[in-house]
């Protein structure tokens, strides 16, 4: 299919172009954006696809970052080798959190995960764990350099590395979402009782999704740590979880492209808005969040898809509205049967 190949070519060009066009600093920022996009991708699995609202994914990001930092600083593990370890640890933690999460739904689950996000910095600062975590001061990491003596600056190399790590994960989620498991996740999100009646093992799917979601966000955290070369408890405040959530909704839930758009939004809005005032980024996030929920619940990705669909003859498939059930909000209020 020509359109498919053209898209692939265009996509690869767009992704590799920055190597030649941008400065090291900009590439560093893009690398962070990739990490953020990956983190949002992870969040998308539980909140977007399975309908389990998480306001605490920053915790997994933090855990991944710290696993990488501790292995690199204390055990001299090469940066790339820390990723599998981070993945395993986060998957286990994700599963452990997914188990009690089975009992919670909607606002209750959001509240519990939010509590996790708020408590996380304190846990990381805990003096009892200081030997491991470096306490308030955190851990400094060595710069990751290109292998085989390639003639690339570390920042350029890291950008490529991040792409190489993120791309297969994006592909994994893309396939997962469009296959049988994606259907099962949608069933759980929209009609949990019916799903169970049809034989879908709710518990296994929900905890499994949590585990994979945590794994992906954890790897994102590792990437972030490697890029920034520093972890500290205050790098992972509750706002981090909220920003991931904002990126998810604004970018477009259940959309892999949405994760990227959301990450770019979350990453670069502060750069622009900071010039106006310190308060501007938060306000912009909040306004964008509310605006998207009211005006385009499918997020930026959804809006783009609708706009481009006639041009590219894309199927306008995809879920109708943010959240469960595909029911839209009713502005103005309507009478209803109760």
């Amino acid at each position: 299919m020509i359109a498919g190949r053209a898209a692939l070519l265009a996509g690869t060009t767009v992704l590799l172009a920055p190597l030649f066009l941008f400065t090291d600093y900009h590439l560093f920022e893009l690398t962070l954006a990739i990490a953020t996009a990956l983190a949002i991708l992870g969040l998308n699995l539980v909140t977007g696809h399975t309908g389990q609202i998480s306001l605490g994914h920053g915790a997994f990001y933090a855990i991944g970052a710290y696993v990488t930092a501790i292995l690199m600083a204390d055990y001299d593990v090469p940066y790339w080798a820390t990723l599998p370890a981070s993945a395993v640890v986060c998957a286990v933690v994700g599963f452990a959190i997914g188990l009690p999460a089975l009992r919670l739904r909607g606002h209750y689950l959001a509240l519990t995960t939010f509590a996790l996000a708020v408590a996380m910095p304190q846990i990381l600062k805990y003096r009892g764990l200081e030997g491991l975590t470096g306490g308030v001061q955190g851990i400094v990491l060595a710069k990751a350099g290109p292998p085989f003596g390639l003639a690339l600056t570390p920042d350029r190399w890291l950008y490529l590395f991040a792409l190489a790590v993120a791309a297969p994960l994006f592909l994994l989620v893309y396939n997962l979402a469009r296959g049988r498991i994606g259907l099962a996740m949608a069933a759980i999100r929209d009609h949990p009782l019916a799903a169970e009646a049809m034989g879908i093992d709710l518990a296994r799917l929900k905890t499994g999704t949590f585990a994979i979601s945590a794994l992906i966000t954890g790897i994102a955290g590792s990437l972030g740590a490697i890029a920034v070369q520093f972890v500290a408890p205050d790098s992972f405040p509750p706002l981090l979880s909220i920003f991931l959530f904002v990126g998810l909704i604004v970018g477009g839930i259940r959309s892999e492209a949405g994760a990227v758009i959301g990450a770019l939004f979350v990453q670069f809005v502060p750069d622009l808005a900071d010039q106006v005032s310190k308060a501007a980024p938060g306000a912009l996030y909040g306004l964008a969040l509310i605006a998207v929920l009211y005006l385009m619940p499918q997020g930026a990705a959804g809006a783009l898809r609708r706009a481009l669909a006639p041009l590219l003859h894309l199927r306008s498939g995809g879920a109708p509205a943010a959240g469960t059930g595909g029911r839209r909000a009713n502005p103005g209020g309507t009478r209803h049967v109760e």
């Binding site: 909607g106 509590a115 708020v118 909040g286 909000a329 009713n330 103005g332």
Partner: protein
Amino acid sequence: MAGVLHQLVAGLATGGIYASVALALVTIYRATHHVNFAQGEMATFSTYVALTLIEAGLPYWIAFALTVIASFVTGVVIERLLLRPMARAPALSSVGVLIGLLLIFNSLSGWLFGYAIKTFPSPFEATTAKGLLGGYVSAHELGATAVTLAMLLGVFLFFRHTKLGLAMRAAAYNPASSRLVGIRVGRMLAFGWGLAAAIGAVAGMLIAPVVFLDPTMMGGILLYAFAGALLGGIDNPLGAVLGGFAVGVIENLGGAYVVGTELKLTLALLIIVGVLLVRPAGLFGRALVTRV
């Protein structure tokens, strides 16, 4: 022993603040089944407004009253404009709007009033000198607790003995039947939000002299309030109030003797998780007894 008693008393003092915020959370939850994630930021913003009025020269209690009224109105407006349309939307949408409100109020506080830590005056004498009740409490702690208890009592009497209070409870329990007896349910929800915002403002103004005012003031407090509301029963105002006091005591005793002050927020997390897993209705949440 003296230490325990001290922690107990201090715990009750802060517990009063948690109880107030918990009551605000429960008021909204009962009516709308939404957890108001923005409750803390709204209270902080109200406290800043009060400070502005006081710095403009108004006497404390006038500023207090005006702030309470303004907060009530703000709550009503927010419910009417932002949340009414989300009433039938899935949980993700309403959570999103509330998080958006959290961000906006937080930013507004920073933008309008700056990020520097400010002192907030107390209408009672010294804020730190613990001269009363045998040296266990400061004048502010005692006064704040008195105001809190008075407010809680007032709210309780309002809900129990006034027509409007009964109508608000009815609208929260059974909107359909409420319409059938002529109650304008939408209006009741808006009042509920207004009341919660007003209660939050009072809580903010009472805690600010102790923890100092900055845009992040209510972050931890909100978590403790959540824990208290869940512990007591998130659909039971009296339970939530008791839960708030309990969490205050647990926090202080736990922080002093068990986990250390650094992990106090983790205690809140553990309480939340524990309650939701073991007994989601909380200690006093009514498991409804019905006969068909």
